[in-house]
Subunit: 234 residues, 2 copies
């Protein structure tokens, strides 16, 4: 089985939802047969690349509320994060995540995508680190297992993995995702939002119970197996 | 949409079926939205790594037939290959394909998997090249776009990408594939064998008509979208 998770590093419910999904996966008996792939989604693709806008200011401006009201909204999200054992700081920076997604595609090629996503979430939400700084990003990527020279090369070339990020985003739209996190099991079932762990476990059970793919009846065709290669019509 | 194709470089119907699938894909209106991933399958995992056994001798021994009968079987496959414009030689060598599959996983990480698979099929079926020779393999991989030093490193380390090959093979069994080529569309539909192009086109149409994934109704959950992040129960 294969679970694809569309998310953004700037998305609090993606951070929390990842922990809840992993709890649901841990409770799923066939967890060893599940492959997880992270897909790119930008909540604010128009955000400037380098920024020092505090998230609380961005929220107050976006919703037209006071700074105190923005803090109250963040406090409710922080409470949900604490429920999953996750640190959550509201003094973090709001910025563009395109480069972070390009790095996650590089990390995928090295088999360390999940580790890098965890590290980016932690750097953003638990440590409020400035992710617009290429030196900070490179340090995080290397600690997650990405070769240093490749991380630097990808960060220096704005087109590296850019098509992969955009392809993920197109695919999210085609699948009907309007927000994140968005979880897709075997391209069959979709789950929107940071649901409780039990919802994920049940969805995995359901997809597993559906069994193998439906083999379309078609013409007798050439196929090779244990017994050799069958030639149709002979 | 995503099509996964399980195949083996030693499998004539995989060689022919790839061309037929590509003809069906070319006739599918939404072909731009289709991602193709090649998966590993070994028809003869017990074959010795280095071998100079001619395929015709292997076939005669496997089926307990005369060399002339083996040639007649091969002639029917060659005819099917010619129907797709593919060269096909029966004087090729039978050997182990595990290293070839490991290389295809490396090529996937570089975005040139399809080019390498085409090159390996051509080298085996059209040119009868000795694929057990690491120098030959490296040359083919490099021509397909794999960095030379990485190809050499992977070929020198028998564990490099070995788990990925085995994972593909486990997954084929889980999906119910007993032979190759085996095509899986969006983990929903399976197609066995080198079917005519029209069968592939129709299967792609059917999967496309099914539309987006089924979103499972679940609890109201935290989700972030264009309008910001919704906090459940607030």
């Amino acid at each position: 089985m294969r679970v694809e998770i569309w998310s953004d590093i700037a998305c609090p419910w993606c951070y929390i939802g990842k922990a809840r999904f992993e709890a649901g996966l841990a409770a799923f008996a066939q967890r060893e047969s599940v492959e997880v792939v992270h897909r790119s989604f930008e909540l604010d693709p128009a955000a400037p690349a380098a920024t020092d806008v505090p998230v609380l200011d961005m929220l107050a401006a976006k919703y037209g509320v006071s700074r105190a009201q923005a803090e109250a909204m963040e406090a409710r999200v922080a409470e949900a994060a604490a429920g999953e054992g996750l640190d959550y700081r509201s003094d973090r920076i709001h910025g563009n995540t395109f480069d972070l997604h390009r790095l996650l595609h590089l990390a995928h090629a090295h088999g360390v995508q999940d580790a890098l996503l965890d590290a980016l979430y932690r750097a953003n939400f638990a440590e409020a680190r400035p992710l617009a700084d290429p030196a900070v990003l490179t340090e995080i990527a290397v600690a997650a297992g990405v070769p240093a020279e490749e991380a630097a090369r990808v960060l220096a070339d704005p087109e590296a993995y850019a098509q992969d990020v955009r392809a993920d985003e197109r695919e999210a739209a085609e699948l009907g995702a309007t927000g994140v996190p968005f979880f897709v099991i075997d391209r069959r079932y979709g789950i929107s939002g940071g649901q409780p762990a039990e919802v994920f476990r049940q969805a995995l059970e359901r997809a597993h119970a559906d069994g193998a793919v439906q083999v379309l009846a078609a013409e007798e065709a050439g196929v090779c197996g244990d017994d050799g290669c069958a030639v149709p019509g002979s």
